[in-house]
């Protein structure tokens, strides 16, 4: 699916304006690479129905709520979000940690399996530490031995478009844990918010969910290049501002929304 050239021009112009005074998040609240790894691994289709405060901060909703609750668990039990702690973790524990009032996280059973698979792999190949995976990648994001390929060996990060893996590497880099030597391989994390923005602005045409995700990723890579903004920064800008405003970068294509997820997909 090709990117509409006129829409691309419009979106680049708007994005440049939006980026002028934009300060990307520092992710200071993420305490270590392991916490980021395990939370990114289950960051999909949360199912929360409303915003909630967590420890007096917020309100948070959706993915942000999942991260806030997970980080609270890590504050309460330092080391909880590590491979040693999460190997064989029961679904009930996940349900308890990620409950916000009466609002429940969707499908804790599947998330328990994702954490178990990830914990096994990290223990087997990286001594139980995300830091060792980062070291093993030698600063490479893509290509053989790079962080994206290493992450793709785990079920949670097996997404062909690598939405969760890019999100994770972005956080690792921003926190100074991962020095990326091949920044040309950055891409945006193609999720529901970015798909909605891309569709409504006319940047990508409607299609099935896989087509729209891929087209969104490719289109925003072009926007990043032309607007001279690093894809991870563009990703943050669009996600933060686009959550509240689906017409952030234009509404020329009308009142469109992202295609439905396929049942059982755990990638976004």
């Amino acid at each position: 699916m090709a990117t509409d050239p006129d829409a691309l021009k419009r979106v680049v112009t708007r994005t440049k304006k939006l980026a002028k005074d934009y300060e990307p998040p520092t992710f200071d609240e993420v305490p270590n690479p392991d916490a980021a790894l395990f939370l990114a691994a289950i960051d999909h289709q949360t199912g929360y129905t409303e915003p909630h405060m967590v420890d007096g901060q917020g309100p948070y909703e959706g993915s942000a709520l999942l991260w806030a609750l997970g980080l609270r668990a890590e504050r309460r039990a330092p080391g909880a979000l590590t491979a040693r702690s999460l190997l064989g973790v029961p679904a009930e524990a996940i349900a308890a940690v990620f409950r916000a009032g009466q609002d429940n996280l969707h499908d804790p059973e599947r998330r328990a399996k994702l954490w178990d698979d990830l914990a096994k792999g990290i223990l087997k190949s990286y001594g139980g530490q995300a830091e060792q995976l980062i070291e093993a990648s030698g600063g490479k994001l893509a290509g053989p031995g790079g962080a994206l390929v290493r992450l793709s060996e785990f079920d949670a990060f097996a997404d062909p478009l690598r939405k969760k893996a890019f999100l994770l590497c972005k956080i690792w880099e921003r926190r100074g844990w991962f020095e990326v030597s091949d920044p040309e391989n950055w891409e945006v994390s193609s999720d529901n918010i970015l798909m909605r923005l891309a569709l409504r602005s006319g940047l990508v045409p409607e299609g099935d969910v896989d087509q729209v995700r891929e087209a969104t990723r490719d289109a925003f890579k072009q926007v990043a290049e032309q607007a001279k903004i690093s894809p991870p920064i563009l990703d943050d800008l669009l996600w933060e501002k686009g959550r509240e405003d689906p017409d952030l970068i234009g509404d020329e294509a009308g009142d469109l929304t992202e295609p439905s997820r396929r049942e059982g997909v755990v990638f976004y």
Partner: protein, 145 residues
């Protein structure tokens, strides 16, 4: 806080079993009544401090979930000092409160949760409960039934 004689005895028994190291664990409850003792490993394995093993802690949350309980109290033991929170205990109960990225004070890590301390030092009250906040350490009346 209401606790049964059974739970009271269980906490002191755990303290004796782990001595000379401090023991620790969580108590699940409903409606302000302590229901179940969940023993945890002390990750520090120390006679001077405790640190709930994170692996145990996360699994205990799951068991409480299955039992329809909420976290009501966190307990640990003092083997040679009275049942009163040390500065280390207070530090463990609080975290930095931040506003716009700046530390502006301390806040409770577990709001509303009682800290129980079982002492083997032979004092008048071998088990006492406290609410620990930035401003004060306030003793909570324990009603043993």
């Amino acid at each position: 806080m209401r606790i049964s004689k059974e739970i009271y005895d269980e906490l002191l028994a755990h303290a004796r079993e782990e001595a000379p190291n401090e023991c620790c664990g969580l108590i699940g409850g409903t409606d302000g009544v302590a229901r179940t003792v969940y023993r945890a490993r002390n990750a520090e394995a120390s006679p001077l401090r405790y640190n709930l093993d994170p692996n145990d802690q996360i699994r205990i949350y799951g068991k409480m979930e299955q039992n329809g309980e909420e976290l009501a109290a966190i307990y640990h033991s003092h083997t040679a000092s009275p049942a009163y929170p040390s500065q280390t205990d207070i530090n463990l109960a609080l975290m930095d409160r931040r506003e716009e990225g700046k530390v502006v004070g301390k806040e409770q890590i577990f709001p509303g949760v009682i800290y129980l301390i079982a002492s083997l030092a032979g004092g008048e009250k071998p088990l006492r409960g406290f609410e620990i906040s930035e401003d004060e350490v306030r003793e909570i009346e324990l009603i043993v039934e």
